[in-house]
């Protein structure tokens, strides 16, 4: 173990500082075409007409791909996790978010490709659009998705991710106070310095080489293979050099569309997104709406939590059901709350489909939990550090989904923070450890939740 703790140079450091690191945009292949997309100008509309003939006739245009060119149009990227597909690679009968790709043009240069996208004839019948997750259940809400306004395919075809633990009614009855709060973090765009990009090269052997900026090379390879209905061994993916991803380059579809254009044109095709497209059309971290109500005692125990989460998945499911599942498992954050009533909905809206960004599903609830615990401390008049230390996860405490913590670092972390800001902790609190609860730290209401540490 010579490397651990040693100060090692980055293996790509010299390439970075000499400008030799080769990003997808830096790959040079002969005979390459540039691609531009026609994207929906409306949030929600039916496509009444889509005619690419005039655009295809423009000098310098070599291929235009639409939904008709996609062997398998709809593919669920997480079918292996039981999440069925719902999103067409390119729009067919309708568009459900502004910026949704409808067609890709491959031409000799970017300007020609752009002009050709403007020459594609399209008629759209505008439909009402849904933007507010809180209105998704209104009787007169626009319908954003063919499954309804929220995801209905959790296990046993449930339309909600539920966690039920202990006896929430008893917790609320026995509480000295109920502290409620609503938390609504906004969407965040990852803003990688490198925008989305793919370069697809058809090989004489019939295979495709795809240069990709994906964060998940094998995953994206599977996606391309599925849409093209090709065996994996016909694809060669080149990647791993990513100019920033942060979660925004996992649900990439640029590879598949570029691949189809390359096959149709018989020439390499590069699709490089503009910074405007990156901001307006690439998937972001989702906006979340979280309502928390904690049943608390005067002396600072959190007996129970009722929580409702509305996650804004945007127009299609992508990975949102997985994100909400993770979110549900962590909805008590760093604290042990024995009685739980959690409902999480993956709500569809007419916005760009959302995705991961650094801590998919968990950053939102960590934020909400920390804000809420501070609020509880304020309402009770208890020191916020003491409240946290009392309720902090310890060895043997169980998570919302019943997993016993083996080595939670909550206690030392909070003590560390108190030390760093010079906040004096009274005697007992400064000496607390992460060890399994006992004595005063194991009141009756926490006994049942203690689990067996098995690993």
């Amino acid at each position: 173990m010579k490397a651990v703790g040693a100060r090692l140079p980055r293996y790509d450091g010299v390439a970075h500082v000499t400008g030799r690191t080769q990003f997808v945009d830096d790959v040079r292949v002969p005979n390459m075409l540039w691609a531009k997309a026609l994207r929906s100008p409306l949030h929600h509309a039916g496509i009444a007409k889509l005619d690419t003939k005039k655009a295809a006739a423009i000098k310098g245009v070599h291929a235009i791909v639409t939904w008709q060119d996609v062997p398998r149009l709809v593919y669920g990227h997480l079918e292996a996790l039981g999440i069925p597909g719902d999103e067409p690679l390119l729009a067919k009968d309708e568009v459900r978010y502004k910026g949704q790709p409808i067609a890709l043009v491959a031409a000799e240069d970017e300007e020609t490709a752009q002009l050709a996208t403007e020459a594609i004839e399209i008629d759209l019948d505008e439909r009402p659009a849904l933007f507010d997750v809180r209105k998704a259940a209104d009787p007169d809400a626009p319908q954003a998705h063919h499954w309804g306004n929220w995801y209905p395919h959790f296990e046993a075809e449930m339309d909600v991710r539920q966690i039920r633990k202990g006896d929430i009614d008893r917790a609320f009855d026995e509480a000295d106070a109920i502290v409620a709060g609503v938390y609504r973090p906004a969407a965040i765009e990852q803003v990688p310095m490198e925008t989305q990009i793919a370069l697809a090269v058809p090989e004489p052997s019939g295979r495709l080489t795809i240069y990709s900026c994906t964060q998940a090379l094998y995953f994206s390879m599977g996606v391309v293979a599925a849409h093209l209905e090709w065996p994996l061994n016909k694809l060669k993916f080149v990647g791993g050099t990513v100019g920033g991803g942060f979660g925004g380059k996992v649900d990439t579809a640029a590879e598949t569309v570029s691949a189809l254009a390359a096959l149709k044109a018989g020439r390499p095709v590069k699709w490089r997104w503009t910074r405007e497209e990156e901001f307006l059309c690439s998937s972001t971290r989702a906006p979340w709406h979280m309502e928390i109500a904690d049943a608390v005692t005067k002396d600072g125990w959190i007996l129970g939590r009722k929580m409702l989460t509305l996650h804004d998945a945007g127009a299609y499911a992508r990975f949102s059901p997985y994100g909400v599942t993770k979110h549900s498992f962590h909805h008590t954050g760093a604290y042990t709350i024995p009685n739980l009533h959690f409902d999480g909905y993956v709500v569809f809206t007419n916005r760009v489909p959302t995705t991961a960004m650094r801590g998919f599903g968990v950053t939102s609830v960590s934020f909400a939990t920390e804000m809420h615990v501070s609020r509880v401390a304020e309402v009770l008049g208890v020191d916020p550090f003491e409240l946290r230390l009392k309720n902090a996860n310890r060895i043997g405490d169980t998570s919302p989904n019943g997993i016993a913590y083996t080595d939670p670092s909550t206690v030392p972390t909070i003590q560390s923070i108190a030390g760093a800001i010079g906040h004096e902790l009274p005697g007992g609190y400064g000496a607390m450890t992460r060890d399994a609860r006992e004595g005063d730290l194991l009141p009756e209401h926490l006994v049942a939740q203690v689990g067996e540490v098995t690993h």
Binding site: P9, H16, V17, D26, Q190, M193, G244, R275
Partner: protein, 151 residues
């Protein structure tokens, strides 16, 4: 038009208003300046024009007729890193590497005009460069080390 890049003359045929970024990347074949935003807002396209840092995505080719362009390749090679490059490498001032060429050139120019630059001058000089990976701390450390090395 003649374009001199890192001391080598190139005869280029691009349109007079084609952005220098495109000319460098597509016609001359120098890919270290990047198309991060193509609006002058991120700094990844920065090159030196007669030693001064400029946004190549905003510069029309006509504006650099007769000028000497320097890209990061002109600061040093893998076999022989320039002092700014060495400082960034040693201080981990780079993660994905996309913003790095721009930062290096801006730093090189800063040290040239202000060899004893302090932190606030460093921050002002680099204020137009965005990095989404490092959080800037290691970049500033690298620049301070490079300044320390120069003075």
């Amino acid at each position: 038009m003649k374009l001199t890049v890192n001391g080598i003359d190139h005869e280029v045929e691009s349109h007079a208003l084609r952005p220098l970024l495109h000319v460098l990347r597509e016609e001359v074949g120098i890919t270290s300046p990047k198309a991060g935003c193509q609006q002058g807002g991120c700094g990844t396209c920065t090159v030196l024009v007669d030693g001064e840092p400029r946004r190549s995505c905003l510069l029309p080719l006509a504006a650099v007729d007769g000028a000497a362009i320097t890209t990061v390749e002109g600061l040093g090679t893998p076999e022989q890193l320039g002092p700014v490059q060495a400082a960034f490498h040693e201080h981990y001032g780079s993660q994905c590497g996309y913003c790095t060429p721009g930062f290096l050139l801006a730093t090189h120019a800063l040290i040239g005009r202000s060899p004893k630059a302090g932190r606030s001058e460093i921050e002002e000089a680099l204020a137009g460069h965005v990095c989404r990976c490092t959080g800037y701390v290691k970049i500033v450390e690298a620049v301070e080390a490079a300044v320390g090395g120069a003075s």
